[in-house]
């Protein structure tokens, strides 16, 4: 039976102070890894916007404000075994699941060895066959059905893979979301569907998108638990993700998780959000930024100290500089290759592969 959103909220409440890592079932190092992933994602993301303003990349769509939820929810997945079926805000999800800053930057610059699409898709359409990260398209919510199909194949083949897919609350009004959850519920498929609810679908607020307050309530229609989690609370997200992944792996079926997050930037580099969001609202969104929150939480718990913080910061700065410079220096796709890969057997691109992108 579906738990109510309120039950779920209580079940994943704030982590008590004290030995934080032990309480949440992780090591200090793992907490630091999570922190580093969130901070890395933020730094990569901020760099995208700088490159856009500098006129180096024409388009950015990214996930500032969503990173804590994405890292926490995906942290328990098995890399190279499970599957990730992301959307355009999933920068932190794909970094958590094995992609590198270099690989992300290759997509920003649309370079020929970009593992997501070889420069064919807009930035933000992640994919990486070697990490089991399915290629993303632009029409929203279509990926929910792909995730369900991947999970069905895993079940038929008897492999204990778990599939995690993500989308926005606006996209959760598409038929594909409902068709997918219904099928996952019928066959108790090992799929975890994450709705990252940032309150807006471009400019349209959630109250004009969904009749219910919590998207997670829709899980009841599909006989699966619907869990609401505070997306600014990384460890609450981790626990919600871990439980959903455990259930899926154990054959107990799918879970719908709704992470309440905030969108710290415009929808994309083509959006001016001050047109539809007030100054006060934008300011209060900053209080829901997962990065400073998690940093304070780890500092209060004695997991993160000045030394760690400056080491991690230096490593991230170096990684982002390296990824940017390296990716920018890679060749652009050759128009002579533009007809490749329409069908199988179309001549393979000799430059395919990702040398040095790991």
């Amino acid at each position: 039976m579906a738990t109510t959103a309120a039950d779920a909220r209580a079940a994943v409440g704030d982590a008590p102070a004290g030995d934080l890592a032990a309480k949440v079932g992780l090591t200090d190092q793992q907490l630091l890894d999570m922190y580093a992933l969130i901070a890395l994602t933020r730094a990569v993301d901020e760099r995208m916007w700088i490159l856009n303003r500098a006129g180096k990349v024409p388009f950015v769509i990214s996930g500032q404000g969503h990173e804590g939820a994405q890292v926490g929810l995906a942290f328990e997945l098995r890399k190279g075994h499970d599957w990730m079926v992301p959307f355009y805000r999933s920068v932190a999800s794909v970094l958590t699941f094995g992609m590198t800053a270099r690989e992300i930057m290759l997509a920003q610059f649309a370079r020929s060895i970009d593992p997501s699409s070889g420069g064919r898709q807009m930035p933000g359409h992640y994919g990486a066959a070697r990490h089991n990260i399915l290629s993303t398209s632009s029409p929203v919510a279509t990926q929910v059905l792909h995730a369900v199909g991947i999970a069905l194949a895993a079940k038929i083949r008897g492999i204990d893979q778990v599939v995690m897919t993500s989308l926005g609350e606006g996209a959760s009004n598409q038929g594909d979301f409902h068709e997918g959850l219904n099928f996952a519920g019928i066959h108790r498929l090992p799929v975890v569907t994450v709705v990252e609810n940032n309150g807006y679908a471009i400019s349209v607020p959630a109250r004009l998108q969904t009749a219910v307050e919590d998207v997670a309530d829709r899980a009841g229609g599909y006989a699966m638990p619907g869990v609401v989690v505070d997306g600014a609370d990384v460890l609450a997200c981790y626990r919600a993700g871990r439980e959903a992944i455990r259930r899926a792996r154990a054959g107990e079926g799918p879970t719908l998780i709704e992470a309440k997050v905030t969108r710290l930037t415009g929808h994309s580099s083509d959006d001016q959000q001050t047109k539809y969001r007030s100054a006060e609202e934008l300011a209060s969104g900053k209080d829901r930024d997962p990065l400073p929150r998690f940093r304070s939480q780890l500092r209060d718990a004695g997991v993160l100290d000045d030394e760690h913080e400056s080491t991690i910061a230096a490593e991230i700065k170096a990684a982002v500089d390296d990824a940017t410079d390296w990716a920018e220096a890679q060749p652009e796709p050759d128009p002579a290759t533009a007809e490749r890969h329409v069908y199988a057997g179309d001549p393979p691109d000799p430059s395919a592969g990702q040398p040095g992108a790991g």
């Binding site: 599957w83 079926v85 970009d114 593992p115 997501s116 699409s117 070889g118 064919r120 898709q121 359409h125 994919g127 990486a128 066959a129 399915l134 290629s135 398209s137 632009s138 029409p139 279509t142 929910v144 059905l145 792909h146 995730a147 369900v148 199909g149 991947i150 999970a151 069905l152 194949a153 895993a154 038929i156 083949r157 893979q161 038929g175 594909d176 068709e179 997918g180 219904n182 099928f183 019928i186 490749r340 890969h341 329409v342 069908y343 199988a344 057997g345 179309d346 393979p348 691109d349 395919a352």
Partner: protein
């Protein structure tokens, strides 16, 4: 050689492919115990079980979207859309997703699947059980579109489609299911995708057709023979990729072409063949490239007289051939 109906050929081929390759699964509405509304999957559920013959909910987008995921994760789905008329809820999944997966991922992902769908009129199916939808899909790079017209081709082309590494739309003409019989060898032959078939050689006019119209074209060729006109008939069989060579060779020989399709004329698949002939066989043409196609109404009407009014038939084709031959 054993003689089979069109639908028997399809059913047996599905069964054989499922026996041969454990990664082949079938999914769709009523495909399980019932064996499909036309019985194309009859018996598969008993032999292969509910794990490989899956009755889906009534959700076409799910049928195709899940098939994409299934194929990405190592299986070869053969989804059935109960009637081609109901494929539109899945249009986005076919056109935006399946067709583009290989291209958009720069060749790192693909979705081999064969989407089977009964299509076509002349069966009192009216507006929503008679449509020819091929033109919507032949327009899309990344898809293959196959329309067999005989039991032999149904088997050989279905084999090739299931074994193909790209998404194939396999349109089966409903009126042919039980009305057409033919020799189908028990051997493991296949008919390659992308090859048309000259089903009747001739010298004066080329008639190009597919599906039910491939049969009507043959009947029309018989009719005009009485008038001393020698017509060559080509069954296109694979609409995308198109066997341009066979078509051009024939028209270069005859100098005249009648293109037949059941769908309404404007923007239909035959328009592409007409354009091909105009561009690449212009110097050889001895008369206007002619189309015989359905009228410009948004669907096949139901009542007997109205349906007959809609459907292209051998007489109409023969009439066009006579006119062109006399040009």
């Amino acid at each position: 050689m054993p003689v089979r109906t069109y639908i028997e050929a399809i059913r047996e081929t599905l069964r054989e492919e499922m026996r041969r390759d454990a990664s082949v699964i079938v999914l769709g509405e009523d495909v399980g115990k019932k064996g499909g509304v036309f019985l194309a999957t009859d018996g598969l559920y008993d032999e292969f079980g509910e794990g490989r013959v899956i009755d889906t909910p009534l959700t076409e987008s799910l049928i195709i979207g899940a098939s994409i995921g299934v194929s990405v994760n190592g299986l070869r789905p053969v989804p059935e859309i109960q009637f081609a008329d109901f494929i539109f809820p899945a249009f986005n999944q076919i056109v935006s997703e399946a067709a583009r997966m290989r291209y958009r991922s720069n060749g790192t992902f693909s979705c081999p699947m064969t989407i089977r769908a009964p299509f076509g009129g002349g069966v009192h199916g009216a507006l929503y059980h008679s449509q020819s939808v091929e033109a919507f899909f032949t327009h899309v790079p990344g898809l293959k579109v196959v329309v067999p017209s005989t039991p032999y081709d149904a088997r050989g082309l279905l084999r090739s489609s299931i074994r193909d590494d790209d998404p194939v739309l396999f349109f089966e003409h409903k009126k042919l299911y039980r009305s057409v019989r033919g020799e189908v060898p028990d051997s493991d032959y296949s008919v390659p995708l992308g090859r048309a078939n000259i089903t009747r050689p001739g010298t004066q006019v080329t008639i190009v057709a597919y599906g039910l119209m491939a049969h009507y074209a043959l009947e029309a060729a018989e009719l005009v023979e009485a008038d001393g006109i020698s017509a060559e008939v080509i069954d296109v069989r694979t609409l995308r990729p198109l066997d341009t060579e066979t078509l051009l060779d024939s028209v270069k020989k005859t100098g005249k072409a009648v293109i037949v399709y059941e769908d309404n004329r404007f923007g239909g698949y035959g328009a592409e063949i007409a354009a091909l002939l105009a561009e690449e066989a212009f110097d050889y043409l001895d008369g206007p490239v002619t189309r015989v196609a359905g009228p410009e109404v948004p669907g096949v009407p139901y009542s007997h007289g109205l349906e007959d009014w809609f459907m292209v038939d051998p007489d109409r084709i023969a009439e066009a051939v006579r006119r062109l031959a006399a040009y």
